[in-house]
């Protein structure tokens, strides 16, 4: 490497921080807090270089900040990294959330601070690496490397039932991922023996049934991470038991690795199989939206409620991707950012309440708005973003996903009867309404009404540090809600490329079977109406 690649710096800066922290004494927690904050902030500023240096025009190369160094030559594995617009947004989401999370743990984590910060920094490196990898094995290495620090975060710093939750988390995700490893090996063997993403995408030759099996192996690994109904059962446990920081990272970034996996790997590498399984995946996405929302209505534990709302919200992301329209894909990507910001903020707020009262039971609260007006204000803003009120980021994402689905050519089947795309959009919209119901009910039960519980009467409002934790997220909610264009543009080019890929496949299929109706893109009438 002649000059150090900026993306490489962003990936390994947190890891360097973790290594540095190893040399500091464990009985000086403040040094470790400062060190972790320093390195995560440095990573954030370095990643701003990616943001400002990124070219979003059509003429720009697909992957930027690219670099390639042979890694295990005898395996054909190389350290090949680069980011497209979607990866750029997710890398930034990671680098924004991590310093906030570090700051949020200054009071809540008092035990083994050194190990905690090391785990957090290693986790950040692995997450950024997952988004930046352009080699299938490198991707898998980062993907799996995420598991161990997350496992430790939940298992060491979690609450009472943490061992069960962390093991469940690990086993679910690990079992699903190892099958993807075999699929990766199979794919590489049928793409000239290379693991390079670009070469594999170019040269992959698979039979119809083989492509479907391989797609399912990839999709299973990603679907567990998203998590899609019915593979979601690890999530409520993991979220409930995880420390606040773990929940924020889990909801904020880890779940996006699943949807990112669909966008980057499962859809473009196996388009035919993806078209085949699309009705199933879209149906599961809608079921997840509604099921998650309904489960939220009956939760007694605040954290569990937010966890189930993640199932619902990530269903929107999947629905947007499965719509296979420009609006749906960009909306899905945008919704990934929104969910990272607003659910991350929700977990932080629930964590603040937990630090004050050491309970997460909704029934213990009520009327907190009088006692802590600023915390209540932040909670209401985040809630409005979460339910997609116009003016907040959530509205932009949900609107794009639903309109993209409505305008698209997604077609499902129910007992042999075709189900039109509009139904998917309508049921998704029902999920939006349910979302408003459960979130507003939560706000009402926790913050509104009279302050009855005497234990709540002396709770302090936000401290200065907590302001610094929440304000960046509230600002992001407003900015992404009012000025969405700069954050939509990077996703547009990758979405168009993905659609173009699907359209070539469709044309090929139509040569074999001219009767085949078009399946991707928007209805022309709808587009004409909009122009």
């Amino acid at each position: 490497m002649a000059s150090l690649n900026l993306l490489t710096v962003v990936i390994f800066l947190p890891l360097a921080g973790a290594v540095a922290a190893a040399f500091f004494p464990a009985d000086e927690p403040n040094q470790h807090r400062a060190l972790a904050l320093l390195f995560s902030l440095a990573t954030f500023f370095a990643s701003l270089g990616l943001w400002f240096g990124f070219n979003t025009t059509h003429a720009a190369p697909e992957f930027q900040f690219e670099t390639m160094v042979p890694w295990v030559a005898s395996l054909g594995v190389s350290y090949h990294i680069g980011i497209d617009g979607v990866a750029l947004l997710l890398v930034l989401l990671t680098t924004v959330l991590t310093p906030i999370v570090v700051l949020s743990t200054f009071r809540s984590v008092q035990e083994r601070v050194k190990e905690f910060m090391i785990a957090l920094l290693v986790l950040e490196s692995a997450m950024i690496g997952t988004f930046a990898a352009l080699d299938l094995i490198l991707f898998y290495v980062f993907w799996e490397a995420v598991l161990v620090p997350m496992y430790l975060l939940i298992g060491i710093w979690g609450s009472d039932n943490r061992l069960y939750a962390t093991l469940k988390f690990f086993i679910y995700t690990f079992v699903a991922s190892v099958l993807m490893l075999v699929a990766i090996l199979y794919v590489s063997a049928h793409a000239g023996g290379s693991f390079d993403y670009l070469k594999v995408r170019e040269n992959l030759q698979l039979g119809v049934s083989a492509e479907r099996v391989v797609f399912l192996a990839f999709a299973a690994a990603f679907a567990v991470k998203v998590p899609m109904f019915p593979l979601h059962t690890w999530l409520p446990d993991a979220h409930t038991e995880a420390p606040t920081a773990g929940s924020v990272i889990l909801a904020g970034v880890l779940l996006k690795m699943g949807t990112f996996g669909f966008f980057r790997y499962a859809l473009p590498l196996f388009p035919e199989a993806a078209l085949h399984y699309r009705p199933l995946l879209a149906t599961l996405a809608v079921v997840g939206i509604l099921y998650g929302a309904l489960m939220c209505l009956v939760q007694k534990d605040m954290k569990r409620l937010v966890a189930y709302s993640s199932v619902s919200h990530m269903g929107f992301v999947m629905l947007g991707l499965m719509a296979l329209t420009v609006e749906g894909l960009t909306g899905g990507v945008y919704q990934m950012l929104n969910h990272g910001i607003s659910t991350g903020a929700l977990f932080l707020l629930v964590g603040l309440l937990y630090e004050r009262r050491h309970t997460r039971a909704i029934s213990e609260f009520g009327g907190l708005g009088r006692q802590m007006p600023w915390l209540a204000t932040a909670f209401v803003i985040v809630t409005l973003s979460s339910i997609g009120l116009p003016g907040t980021n959530g509205f932009v994402g949900e609107f794009l996903v639903l309109s993209g689905t409505w305008l698209g050519r997604l077609q499902g089947h129910l007992f042999g009867h075709p189900v039109a795309a509009a139904w998917f959009a309508a049921l998704g919209a029902l999920g939006v309404i349910l979302g408003a119901v459960y979130m507003l009910l939560l706000v009402e039960r926790v913050f509104l009404g009279p302050l009855r519980n005497p234990k709540n009467q002396s709770l302090p409002d936000l401290s200065v540090r907590e302001w610094f934790v929440l304000v960046p997220l509230v600002i992001l909610i407003g900015v992404l809600g009012l000025v969405p264009q700069p954050f939509l543009t990077p996703a547009r080019e990758p979405a168009l490329r993905l659609l173009a890929r699907f359209q070539t496949v469709e044309e090929r299929l139509r040569k074999e079977n001219p009767e085949l109706p078009p399946a991707t893109g928007s209805e022309p009438a709808a587009i004409a109406g909009r122009e």
């Binding site: 295990v72 395996l75 290495v141 690990f174 079992v175 090996l185 590489s188």
Partner: protein
Amino acid sequence: MNGFSPTDLAAMLPLALLVAGALVLLLSEVFLTSARRGYQVGVTVATAALSALAAFSASPAGPVFGGMAVVDAFSTFVTVVVCFGVALSALLAGPWLRAREAERGEFYALLLFSASGMVLLSSASDLLVAFIAIEIMSLSTYALAAWMRRGRKPAEAAFKYFLLGAFSSALFIYGSALVYGATGSTLFASIPHSSGALLATGLGLVGAGLAFKVAAVPFHQWTPDVYEGAPTPVTAFMAAGVKTAAFAVLARLLVTVWAGPQAAGLGSGGVVTVLALLTMIFGNLLALPQRSVKRMLAYSSIAHAGYLLVGVVAAGAMGARSSGIAALLFYLAAYTATVIGAFAVVGILERRGAPAEEPNDAWDLTRLAGLARRRPGLAFVMAVFMVSLAGIPPSAGFIAKLLIFKAAVAAQAYGLAVVGVLTSALGAYYYLRVVVYMYMRAPEAEEAPLVSPALSVALAVCALTVVVLGIGPEPVAALARVASALAP
């Protein structure tokens, strides 16, 4: 057969060095006062290092002793791995034995004699040479396993190991006799030129004898008891060295047989596939309920034999021969460093009870509880070894499994690859349980763990090897690839 030429003897220099080192240790025990301890570990490590250096620097000589043995890149690689294992085991054995007042020079002499058998085994290309090498290796290990014959369990372990070892040797030699009857020769290379029931039976018996040595299911029953009962440094040596050498000869034999014109008629590929499946599945399943860490590692070594067998099966396929052997060799190197490191931690923590005491809970998981607070460094390296055994990146174990499964996919053995990854996910459960105890449980008051510079060196070398092979595996992987070209 030709006479022995001086070049033949020169090619055997690594083996000769190991024997010379063993003799030096034996003699020193006679002439030096037994009050002076400590030099034996140094002599053993130096001997192993010299032997590895000699193997590494000598040019591959090809067939020696009239084709009864082969010195090639493959045997060189195995020799280096065996020497690495011997040196690490000796570093572990020194403090461990001293803490139990059981250190004598003969221990290290036996270690080196056993290693000389392993080195010969890696070169054997004749059933009789293989048999002699197996016996040299095994007789020394029987004695080592009986080194601490205090209490019922160690005695039972040593006796069981001897009895079943003798049984497997008998199977091997009887099989060799049948092969000789069918082909008129004991050379590996002559086997694939014939076929028939007699040869298939003979080959089956030889294979069964080797399956005992590598502890493949259903020939594994001795492993847990012996591994648990033997002194921990010896267990580490068995898990690393004996497994490496036995797999070396198994791979050379089977690849020679499968490359021949009559391979299909012998039908051995299917048998090995079944063995690999059974070994992966049962090795991992049986390890699940174990509470004794030492016993869990014993079952895990069975499971790893299953993954190694996948490499052997892959090596039998047309397009995957060299990638299968290279994967096998890399796996053996990675496993040697990982398993010796893991057993070293077990040895450090195990109870040093009175001789008569039954060490039933000597290796219970609770002895690891809260280790991250008591000995953070020790807990960290143990976590590294567990991650590597589970095959989670970035560790040597992951790259090793990746190579194995890649070879299996190249050989179109998809079933083996799928079962392999699923059972390794199962394995993650019991390896991570160790991490749970070390990091997520409160410490219990325990006697102070063993501390010694030699142990620290051994642990550091093991952990460093695991991490380096996980992050920068290319040099070793390239060497394994070179070594995969077996000399004819």
